[in-house]
């Protein structure tokens, strides 16, 4: 008889679920509130005068673990101030292999590359998944879409509270080996 009882129990459960409001929303038409710290895609920013923040230092290109960032840099006169300075003449970020680790944002000295809350849409072509410089600056246009973090904000978060004194070194920290007793580097053990 346990089967019969269980059958009615499951029927009741599905009935209750069927009469409840569905949890699915039709995504492009209705959007759920996003998590405040959501970070989905990338943008390049401009300063208050409309000059590009990026100085073409290639730190992001070097730090990127998936090597998806490519920067071409050169010096040219600023269109705003007229003074010559370094610019990125081309900046691409290939989302196909991007692991969204945000390291590029953390190393940026000028807060030029930041993250945005909006995801990139699907594309019909692999090329659609490459964020070109044009797309990156378009992503940076609306300030409310920008995610909370930028290099300076993150740097503020990660700044140590105070410089640790040598006596307060944590127990698990490696003890520095005196240079004299250390093995010379590159020496193979005797066979």
């Amino acid at each position: 008889m346990g089967y019969v009882f269980a059958t009615f129990q499951s029927l009741l459960a599905t009935l209750r679920q069927g009469l409840a409001t569905p949890s699915t929303v039709e995504y492009p038409k209705a959007k759920r509130p996003r998590a405040p710290r959501l970070r989905a895609s990338f943008a390049l920013t401009k300063d208050a005068q409309g000059d590009e923040n990026c100085i073409g230092c290639k730190k992001c290109e070097k730090v990127c673990p998936s090597e998806v960032i490519a920067v071409v840099a050169s010096k040219k006169p600023s269109p705003v101030t007229g003074k010559p300075r370094a610019y990125a003449t081309d900046f691409t970020l290939n989302l196909q292999a991007c692991i969204v680790c945000e390291l590029c944002v953390q190393v940026c000295p000028t807060d030029a590359i930041v993250m945005v809350q909006e995801q990139e849409g699907p594309g019909f072509d692999r090329g659609d998944l490459v964020l070109t410089m044009e797309k990156l600056y378009r992503n940076g246009e609306s300030k409310e879409r920008l995610a909370w973090s930028s290099a300076s904000v993150l740097g503020e978060h990660q700044k140590p509270a105070e410089a640790p004194a040598p006596a307060q070194r944590p127990a698990h920290a490696p003890v520095p080996v005196p240079a004299a007793s250390a093995e010379p580097p590159g020496k193979e053990p005797a066979a």
Binding site: T7, T14, A20, E26
Partner: protein, 324 residues
């Protein structure tokens, strides 16, 4: 209307099949909506208002796809199985009375005919399973035959209860008897109701629906006999399954729920309402229950349903003898 009986039969048949296939198309929409709501989803929404044109989109899609025949399959039987399945599933519609006048053919042995076609339905599925030359298809086909043959017995025995009570094998006759003496599901004390439940259960098993979808068993057999089928041929199997469910609901409504009989509304509307309600019940069961194991299925059939239906038949006979 023309007087040529062959042309007349052809036209009537075409009308019934068209109506039925339209109904089958939109009950797939209904089923997907219900499944969606039960799983807290929305179901089809994008094609047409409330996704109502989804069945059309699906039909066009499946017609455009490539029909693949496996290299080592028995090509003739492989091609033959899907239309045969659908034809047998749709064939039952000929004897279902939708209203006193709306009945393709009121043969004297309507119940027998419907049950015979339903019993034959195992065989094209077995053909499909064998012709595919695939172990999953073969196992699914064998399960289908085992299940179909076992469940035919309680199905026929439970369908005999209204036949005994009404004293006729004609579908129209059974309904007319119920219109006079009350629906069998309530009239004969207990017997009719239990027979109704047994008939519904066995119809689910015959139609290969959850909780008796052992031949298909996606978690074990990929898709059972339909594993190798693609495109429109797969759609024919799907349509046959839905048509069988719908027609089993219609037969249950006819035999036990008084068919077209009902107050105020026109007879055809009553029939559609009852069939629809039973189909909703089947769908609800499908999305609520788990699949039985093969041995559980067999023990349910042989140890419970067969003795029970024999007792029901005895009860129905006693009731008729006492009543007259």
């Amino acid at each position: 209307m023309t007087n040529d009986p062959w042309l007349r039969a052809l036209l009537e048949g075409a009308a019934v099949v068209t109506a039925l296939m339209t109904a089958v198309a939109w009950i797939t929409w209904l089923e997907r909506k219900i499944a969606g709501r039960i799983q807290s989803r929305l179901g089809p929404t994008m094609v047409g208002p409330f996704g109502l044109l989804q069945p059309l989109a699906d039909a066009v899609k499946s017609m455009q796809k490539e029909s693949i025949v496996p290299r080592d399959a028995d090509a003739l039987l492989f091609w033959l199985a899907p239309p045969l399945t659908l034809a047998l599933a749709l064939g039952t519609a000929a004897v279902i009375p939708f209203s006193p006048g709306l009945l393709a053919s009121d043969v004297d042995i309507g119940v027998l005919y419907a049950l015979a076609l339903s019993g034959l339905l195992s065989f094209p599925i077995w053909i499909a399973g064998w012709a595919s030359n695939n172990k999953y298809s073969l196992l699914g086909g064998m399960r289908m035959v085992a299940q179909g043959i076992s469940y035919e017995i309680p199905m026929v025995l439970s369908a005999l209860v209204p036949v005994v009570l009404a004293g006729t094998l004609s579908m129209g006759g059974v309904v007319r008897h119920q219109a006079e003496h009350g629906w069998f599901v309530v009239s004969a004390p207990g017997v009719g109701f239990v027979a109704f439940l047994v008939f519904l259960l066995t119809a689910l098993a015959e139609g290969n629906r959850i909780p008796f979808d052992i031949p298909e068993a996606e978690s074990e057999l990929v898709a059972g006999p339909t594993t190798e089928y693609t495109a429109i041929q797969w759609s024919l199997f799907a349509a046959a399954e839905y048509a069988h469910s719908l027609l089993a609901s219609a037969i249950a409504a006819t035999l036990f729920l008084g068919g077209w009989d009902g107050p105020v509304l026109p007879p055809a509307v009553w029939m559609v309402l009852k069939t629809g309600a039973l189909f909703l019940l089947i769908t609800w069961l499908r999305w609520s229950l788990l699949r039985l194991r093969s041995d559980q299925l067999m023990s349910l059939c042989w140890k419970l349903l067969v003795p029970l239906t024999l007792l029901l038949l005895l009860g129905a006979g006693t009731w008729v003898t006492l009543a007259t």
